[in-house]
């Protein structure tokens, strides 16, 4: 039963809009824009690359957030989800997973491909790089879910989302970019990676409950 519900949540997010494709494309275009701004010096790019990739990943996480809950609120689906047999936190966890699957994880994939293509040493660190990006993608979705819940029903959700999500995403951004640039500085990425993993675990456990409480309050408050 939850399978049916998750499929529908995911397909409503992506279908007809090709959100995954959009996220991939956004990543590549934004990266190109940064490179045009910085210049093509390979050495300089190599030092800047980890930070750039992570900064773009945070921004890519904003895609799909305005509609994550708002679309359901507009057509009454949110009411049906509130009244359903499955608990609201599980629904919110599904929303978070759907957002990760539709935007942040595709963007992380693009990040992995771009980094490997542009840096000769990246292959040596591919496992660490991939782990970091995947963890980061998931935690940005968790933070994004909170932002979507907080701005649900607001008048100018778009800008507000960025203002809320970006500061909350600072720790995963720092730990993730730190892990990605650790090889360049000649230090081990284990510590920032484990900090990132800790943040991710905490975020994905707490965010669905907080988002559920916020959404329930918003819907049922007279």
């Amino acid at each position: 039963m939850s399978g049916v519900i998750f499929t529908r949540i995911l397909s409503r997010m992506t279908r007809g809009r090709g959100l995954q494709m959009q996220a991939l494309l956004f990543f590549v275009l934004a990266l190109a824009a940064f490179v045009f701004g910085i210049g093509a010096d390979p050495e300089q790019l190599e030092t800047l690359m980890p930070g750039l990739v992570w900064a773009i990943l945070v921004l890519a996480g904003l895609l799909g957030l305005p509609d994550l809950l708002e679309a359901d609120a507009a057509d009454g689906t949110l009411d049906d989800l509130l009244l359903s047999k499955i608990s609201l936190p599980s629904v919110m966890a599904m929303k978070m997973a759907a957002h990760a699957a539709a935007t942040t994880l595709p963007a992380a994939l693009a990040a992995l491909i771009c980094t490997s293509a542009m840096s000769p040493d990246a292959f040596k660190y591919l496992p660490q790089l991939a782990t970091g990006l995947a963890l980061g993608a998931i935690s940005f979705s968790a933070v994004g879910l909170l932002g979507a819940a907080l701005t649900l029903g607001s008048r100018r959700a778009g800008t507000l989302l960025a203002v809320i999500v970006l500061p909350l995403g600072v720790p995963p951004l720092i730990f993730g970019a730190g892990a990605a640039s650790a090889p360049l500085l000649g230090v081990s990425p284990v510590m920032p990676l484990s900090l990132l993993a800790a943040f991710t675990v905490a975020a994905i456990t707490l965010a669905p409950f907080a988002a559920a409480a916020i959404v329930r309050m918003k819907v049922t408050t007279p």
Binding site: R15, L83, K85
Partner: protein, 187 residues
């Protein structure tokens, strides 16, 4: 049978219903009547638990909730829509009858169905499980004469078998023998 005790419903700063005490026995249709914005939907939402009442108690059995918002004309198909709603109420779609005739359009996306047909698909959810209470917000919206007839007979067979229906409507003449509750507008 269910019970409302001193139920007060407000929306924003507007009072919608004050100290409603009412017992609904099985087999009853209760109509919520009143002009636009008089609080029929808010009251129905309070019954469904979607709106916290300002005060009072209510004891509500399991129910179907059909809102007045029409199904959006998306690329989704009625088959997916019905499967999703069955899953929400914890079952799979085991509907045996098809009074609204939606089986013929199960795989036609909603963006190619008219408002009336989308309404028929929405009302078909009523057949997916058998809770004792139906909460319906403007269920006759967009239906043609035949669809209306189907809706009426569906509600009748529900109440005949001991069910209760609470209906917010602008067409009270459709249920001449129903109990009514008048909403006068923001007090």
């Amino acid at each position: 049978m269910f019970l409302l005790e001193n139920l007060t419903v407000a929306r924003g700063n507007a009072l919608m219903a004050l100290n409603v005490t009412r017992t609904l026995k099985s087999g009853v249709v209760l109509l919520l009547e009143g002009p636009n914005g008089s609080g029929k939907t808010s009251f129905l939402r309070a019954l469904a638990g979607l709106l916290k009442p300002a005060s009072g108690k209510l004891d509500i059995p399991e129910f179907h909730w059909i809102s007045a918002i029409s199904v959006p004309p998306s690329v989704e198909t009625p088959r997916e829509y019905l499967a999703f709603h069955a899953a929400l109420s914890g079952t799979i779609d085991t509907r045996k009858t098809d009074p609204f005739g939606v089986d013929t359009v199960l795989d036609t996306p909603f963006n190619r169905l008219s408002t009336g047909w989308r309404q028929r698909v929405k009302l078909t959810r009523l057949l997916q499980s058998q809770p004792p209470l139906w909460l319906l917000d403007e269920p006759s919206d967009g239906l043609d004469a035949k669809g209306m007839e189907t809706l009426l007979s569906l509600i009748k067979s529900h109440t005949d078998s001991g069910g209760i229906a609470v209906i917010a409507t602008h067409q009270p003449q459709l249920w001449p023998h129903a109990e009514t509750m008048q909403f006068v507008g923001a007090a």
